[in-house]
Every structure is written in C-alpha cells, then in structure tokens.
C-alpha cells in the first residue's frame, strides 16, 4: 500500500480524499494555489505545497508543479479528484515516467475515452447501444429522409464540425426535413466553413442515467448500480440519486452487465462512469465515459456501502477488488444536492466571505464539504461549497430527510442554491420520479429559455 498520496485538487473532494487516506493510514500531501492558503485541505493534510498563483491554469492544472510537489515530498501516488487534471492522460503518463502511481485508469484508456468519436466506436464495438445516426455526412435529402424514417422522428440535424448549438435543427416530421438540412448546412458553412451535416435520433426528454464501475488490475470489473442525474441545468448536474426511480431490477442488471462487458473490453481499471440517455421507452443510448471519480459518487457509496475512494486507492496499489459482483448489494435510496454559492434564481455565482456555515445533520445525512464558518469562497474556482447527501430506506424517506436537512442548514454571507433544491424537492413531478434533462426548464427564468434547445442536445 502507498505510504503517502498527493492530492492534486482542492475543496470538498480534496477533503474527501484526505479522509479516505486517513482511514487507510496513508499520509497526505495537499497542493494549493495562493488563493487557497487557508483552505481546509491544506490544514488537514500532513504536508502541503504551494504550487502556483490563484489561476487554475498556473496551479491546479500545472502538471510540472504537481509532479514536482510529489517529488519533493516523496509521495508515491497522486489522486487527481474530479475536474482539473483528473482526465489528463498527460498527467497519467508523466506519473508513469516518474514512477509515481496515478490513481485512475491507464493513460491509454483515458486517451481513448477522451476522444469522443473513438470512444463511441470502441463502445459500439463492445456492445453498448448508440443513438442511431448517419455514420458520415448526409449525401442527399433522399438518403436523409430514408434514414430518418427508418429511425423515426424526431431527428436532429447537426453540423459535423459543429459545436455551441450552431448548425443544429430538430426535425419532427418528414415535411420539415429538407428545409432543416438546407438551413443547417448554410449555418454550418457560415459558422465553420464546412457545410457537412449528419443526422441523429433526437430524444425529446431523455433521462440521464449513469453506471458506476470499478475495475482492478487483475481483470475484475464490477458495477455499483446506476445514478439518475436528470436534474441538470446547462449540462451541470444539480441533484443526483441512486437508484433511479425509472429502472426495474431487471433493467439495472442488464444495463450493469452490459457496462461491465464494455469496461472489460477496453481493460478498464479503477473507477469510472458510463453515461447514458434513456428514452421514454426505457431504451438506453451510450453518451460517454468519465474516466475519474464523479462529484455524485456518494449516493452510490450510501446504497452499496462501498467506499469508492478507498477502493480507488486500493486498486491503484495493486489490490484486488474487495467485492465480487454477487456481493454488491443495493439497500435504500440516496440523494445528493450540490449546494453552490450562487443566486438560486439566476445562478449567478456568489463568492465572498461565509460568516455562518452550519449544515443540517442527524439521521441519514452526510455532508461533504470544505467550507466552514468564517471561510472565504474565492471567485477563482467552482462555486460548489458543499454536498448534502441524504439516505433513507426508500426514496420518500431520502426526500423528506433531504428537505429538512436543507431547511435546517444555515449559510450567511453568500447566496446558495438551497432554495432551488427545496423547490425541486417539493415539485410533484420530482416526487413522482417523473424527470428528464429538461426538468429544470420550469424553474429557469424566461430570458434563459431561448437557446435551450441547443443546450438540451
């Protein structure tokens, strides 16, 4: 086992990793930017190294800084957390070269999954269901119509060179298709210089369902069930839960096994998440793989009893998975609310000094945070200040516990998204488990709704 782990991150996830290391009896090294000198992760790590100025690009994203910090402190492994360098194949490669263990998948796997088109091909080959789409650009309107009829409307016309919502058209019937293709081509040409467009199945109100996997270096892979993360705003997850209220036991097993097979096909190791869209008929479509720890990992920890961060560390140290698939059990229900220092209506960040910080506790409540009374939320980084995770015997209990925990939380000095979470927790559709990635549109100020099509894609 490792003797000393460097944590290449900040905030609550750095604290989460320090906690895991303490439980395993491993020393920790915090790295920090000048803006984080007084942060909890610096205080609670055994050693700390300032690696740069406040800007992430010069500190938390600074690979030589991180590696040098590991070298001067004699750390034998680096945990990258999420965000920042967590999906940097480069960091993983440099670690390899420097004989420092990178706590994450092999750099080749990170690289493969990071290239969306290669990843899709590999996952399709490994048997994951894909959203039907033309393999290349549309050759003629006739072909496009034939294809669209085959996969069924609505479809979406997308610029091959696209991005940012331009060159995109949702088409709901055969009549609209020709016009949509021509418009999209003109837009694509204007925006990217290339008129090529392709066609893909369009899901109106999909759910976001993802599957957590763990793989060791001995060929074993298990899945830890799914998380439903449909409550999003501009692709930012706001609230996650496990299990999904939409899945049956059979679907869970089937999806899980499919993902385990796909992970094995690419020799996946360490923790990872396979993200899917689910349509109203319960069909899944692979989106992408996140080759790292996710923000929302605690909901899975609560329903399985498995400490994912400790498993990551053990796996990286060469140990075998602590459970076989048959030993993974799912009990109860867990929900996570990301408490952000933001205006709950406009989502405008609200950095500043927190004078009072007290999160609700008691039965079934877990709080992951690096905030405290008399701390400062700096404007340089992510606005998430805490994760409140509730656990109950069933979804109802998890919801009522979350509700009262939020009601009993007190944050003064900055605005938080707690009022928004309470709105969601009182929404009849949410209570009934009726969710999709468009759920948050009902709470979005009208001025923002424009362009939401592009966002929803």
């Amino acid at each position: 086992m490792f003797k000393k782990i460097l944590i290449a991150n900040r905030g609550e996830i750095a604290m989460r990793i320090i906690i895991a290391c303490r439980e395993l009896g491993i020393k920790t090294v915090a790295v920090y930017s000048e803006a984080d000198e007084n942060s909890l992760h610096v205080r609670f790590a055994d050693e700390d190294v300032c690696i740069g100025p406040p800007r992430s690009s010069e500190s938390y994203l600074n690979v030589p800084g991180v590696i040098s910090a590991a070298e001067i402190t004699g750390a034998d492994a680096i945990h990258p957390g999420y965000g920042f360098l967590s999906e940097s194949a480069y960091l993983a490669e440099v670690c390899e070269a420097c004989h420092i263990r990178f706590i994450g998948p092999d750099p080749k796997v990170i690289r493969l999954m990071g290239d969306k088109s290669r990843a899709r091909r590999a996952m399709k080959k490994a048997g994951l269901p894909m959203l039907p789409g033309t393999d290349g650009p549309v050759e003629s309107e006739e072909d496009a119509l034939k294809f669209s009829n085959a996969i069924g409307f609505p479809v979406i016309v997308k610029a091959v060179a696209g991005g940012g919502g331009r060159g995109m058209r949702v088409v709901r019937s055969a009549q609209e298709l020709g016009h949509a293709i021509r418009t999209a081509q003109r837009e694509a040409e204007a925006a990217f210089g290339v008129p090529d467009v392709y066609i893909e199945k369009y899901l109106d109100s999909p759910r976001h369902i993802e599957v957590q996997v763990l793989g060791d270096h001995h060929g074993a892979v298990v899945h830890l069930g799914e998380r439903e993360c449909s409550i999003q705003r501009r692709h930012q997850k706001l609230m996650e839960e496990s299990p999904s209220p939409a899945l049956t036991e059979k679907q869970r097993r089937k999806l899980g096994n499919m993902v385990v097979d796909a992970a094995k096909a690419v020799q996946y190791s360490n923790a990872g998440t396979f993200e899917f869209l689910m349509d109203e008929h319960g069909k899944f479509y692979f989106m992408e793989t996140n080759t790292r720890l996710q923000v929302e990992h605690p909901v899975t920890e609560l329903v399985t009893g498995i400490d994912i961060v400790k498993e990551q560390i053990r796996i990286a140290a060469g140990e075998r998975l602590s459970v076989r698939q048959g030993e993974v059990t799912f009990n109860g229900h867990a929900i996570e609310c990301r408490v952000n220092a933001e205006d709950p209506d406009t989502f405008v960040p609200s950095p500043g000094h927190i004078s009072v910080f007290s999160m609700g506790g008691g039965p079934g409540i877990r709080v992951d945070t690096a905030a405290h009374s008399d701390c400062t939320i700096s404007p340089y980084y992510d606005s998430m200040i805490a994760k409140i995770i509730s656990y109950g015997r069933d979804r109802h209990e998890a919801i009522v516990r979350m509700r009262r925990a939020l009601e009993m939380s007190v944050v003064e000095g900055v605005k938080t998204t707690i009022p928004m979470h309470l709105k969601i927790l009182n929404d009849p559709d949410f209570l009934a488990g009726r969710m999709s990635t468009r759920f948050m549109e009902r709470f979005t100020p009208p001025s923002e709704k424009k362009g939401s099509l592009a966002e929803a894609v």
Binding site: V42, R43, C50, P64, G65, S68, I72, H353, H372, S373
Partner: protein, 171 residues
Amino acid sequence: MDFDEINKILDIVREHELSEFELEREGFKIRIRKGSPAHVSGAVAAPVAPGPHYQGHPPTHASAQMATAPEPQSAASIAAAAAAAEEVDLAIVKSPIVGTFFRSSEPGAAAFVDVGDTVKKGQVLCIIEAMKLMNEIDSELDGEIVKVYVENGQPVQYGERLFAIKARGDV
C-alpha cells in the same frame, strides 16, 4: 436620501469591504463604520477583536494563517509592516516553480552566487530542479546579494523566497 439609497451605499461598503464611509452634502450627512470599533481622538488605543479566522486551524499553520489575515489594525499586521519596512529597499527573488533548490551547477562546484556578490540582470542565481529538468533562475536586476533564504538541496514551494538583492541604485 431614503432607504433604497442607504442600502445602495451599504452594498458599496460591503462590496469594497470598507471599514468606514462618510458622505456629506447640503443638509445631509451619512457616516458608516463597520467591523472594528471606532477609535476617536484622544482615545486610549483599545484592544481589537481578532479577525474572523477559523479557530480550528491546526497549530502548524497558525502563523501562516495569521500573517495573511486581513487585520488592518492588529498587532500581527503591525509586525508585518515592520518587517516590510526592513526590506523596503530589497528585491526578493521568489521561486517561480516547485522543485529542489541548488546553488551550484553540480555537486562540488562553486555556488553561482553568495552573499556579498554583485550580480547583473540576467545572471544565473541558482537552479531549481523540477521533473528532472534544471531550471536556471536569473536575476531580474543588477545589485548585491544580501541574503540566501534556502539551503542547497532543499525543496522549495511556489512563491518561496530564495534571495534578497539590494538594487544597484542603493549600493
């Protein structure tokens, strides 16, 4: 002046973290103080409440925390001011990267510079090894080395002091 206007002023006070704000115009005067108490003429300087620090700071970091705390009138900041005064004419060369500090090009070789040496802008002062690369740290001004803060072979953090140089003009 109504409550809206007062609130706007208070927003400004908060936003800019002002401790005092005074505005006077015909037939109207407003004065606001915040945080620390007011010391007015003739007053015996009163002890000031400590700044809003997280009290649970482990002892190892206590001093660092204190030095960086925004305590305009505290003893700590007065001490800091004194320290600053002492070095007011000195240029401090800080480490731009994390790594290991070497005073010479190889073991056994002479140090690039020593206290009392005169250095020119662009002259190599030391090497910081990071990721097996030897990064030469140059002087940014002409002057005299008056202090070397780090011992040979020691690790340095970003922003750590390496040398103090008295600028040429002051020599």
